[in-house]
Amino acid sequence: MPSINSTIKVDSRDAKLSMAHFYVAFAALAIGGLMGLLQTLVRSGKFELPGGIGYYQVLTVHGVLLGLVLTTFFIMGFQHAAVSRTAGTHSDKARLTGWIGFWVMTLGTVMAAAMVLMNKATVLYTFYAPLQAHWIFYLGLTFVVVGSWIDGIAQIMTYAKWKKNNPGKPGPLLSFMAVINTVLWIICTIGVAAEVLFQLLPWSLGLIDRVDVLVSRTLFWYFGHPLVYFWLLPAYMAWYVVIPKVIGGKIFSDSLARLSFILFLLFSIPVGFHHQLTEPGIDPAWKFIQVILTFLVIIPSLMTAFAMFATFESAGRAKGAKGMFGWVKKLPWNDARFTVPFIGMAAFIPAGAGGIINASNQMDQVVHNTIWITGHFHLTLATSVVLTFFGISYWLIPHLTGRKLTKKMNKLALIQAWVWFIGMAFMSGSMHAEGLLGAPRRSAFSTYMGAKQAAEWIPYQIAQAVGGTILFIGIILILIIFINLAFFAPKGEEEFPVGEQAENAEATPMVLENWKLWIGISIVLILFAYTIPFIDMIQNAPIGSKGFKTW
């Protein structure tokens, strides 16, 4: 694969574009992380927020900033760098497109954040109707989505240029993955864009009086589940392509990596009903079909797990490891670029197992709307994905700013990851356990009028406050490292590691790059899974709901 290393360093103009995204992402992490700490303290029952600040307002800030802003900005920043590094420097036109995307997203973020901070949009990050926010909040979110489309188009432009200059060759793996993720994102955000433009915006502006709640929630989850994969795939990009290079090994299989990304594109979208299993108004047969499709998404996840183990073992054995698990000792445990994402990978084992439980129709009744779910996505997003993003930052930020990750910062990064692991074990572990005892998510502290069952939950909530406090220390540490790498670390050259395939690897089949085929199948699956349920919902629609402001 000579194409992979066609560019060694990200062009400094593209580096500025990436860094702009990272500044917003880490600012969001700082504020959103503080809000998370406040939530766990309030829910312990030992603290109250000062000045009449509402729990749900803090919860909205936390969810919007970390679930939507941190992720989207980090991912777009990373993908710009990945495409520029492997498919070649952006053209001036592509870079300008990227900057327009960045500014549209930033404007949208400021609009939405201002409304939340003014307590005009305390609707949580899922902004479910009939909770009704100020129209500027919805317009701001629209700008974030549209901005991300423009940002993604810039990446597709550079990839298309590479393909044009290299006819008949598979595109560089990292760029291919970035483009799959962008295509996934564009297809799925059409749902949330439709929800906001045709339902929530006219409704919040007073142009229409009522909104169909079921349709709005269905459009949201058409977007909401692939959103999870939009977060996850950039982490997988690092696992498949960057980590092999960091550990001194080879990519186990280029074809397997591409196939797993294609399967994510196909099976992560037509599955939103598994978030709506308890919802009335959807035919159980269609819920069943979407649960089956959800289970198909397990296949690429397991392929990824296999490929990771095989990469580690092959690398270890190439260095002379013996026995069943001798290769474990050959992994570079003192290198933060490896160990931090590795902890994220390990967290994905319980996270994935929990996900299979959530998507199983009957068992969803045990965990639905309990804090188990919150515990689940703090393992997937807030551990697997976020620790991998931190691991990426430790080489990417210095690479982009022309600095070095010093030994001291490497050590601090390792400490940060273990602090995060311990904090999350307390917080997410107790959320899972408390959820199985029936404690609701999205709820401030309450004794529920002295109910015996609610009293059982309190020790777990105190454990969450302990975990949240440890995690906040982790946030302070990562911010110290980020600021050091962006502004103060010594000047130098930090490598952008891009792995290569093993010498005896077979050529990648070109069918894996047949975009018309895969996007076509993706659209067919979506139409199959959603057309009849949507017709049902619209034909049997109730009169709809007026807006509620409960805060």
């Binding site: 183990f309 197992a353 068992m363 045990v366």
Partner: protein, 54 residues
Amino acid sequence: MAKAQLKNGPKSNPKVQHKEESESLKGTMASVMFLGFFIIVTWLGVYFLFVDRF
């Protein structure tokens, strides 16, 4: 794709044996089996909780 060789080739040849050791994926096999076992155990755990409650 990297070609994994689990158990083939004559055992008597030390060169082949060395190659077998360096290309073996038996640790991967054990790891994915553990992963599958973990998924099944957690799933069954919540399944029995469901059966018990509903």
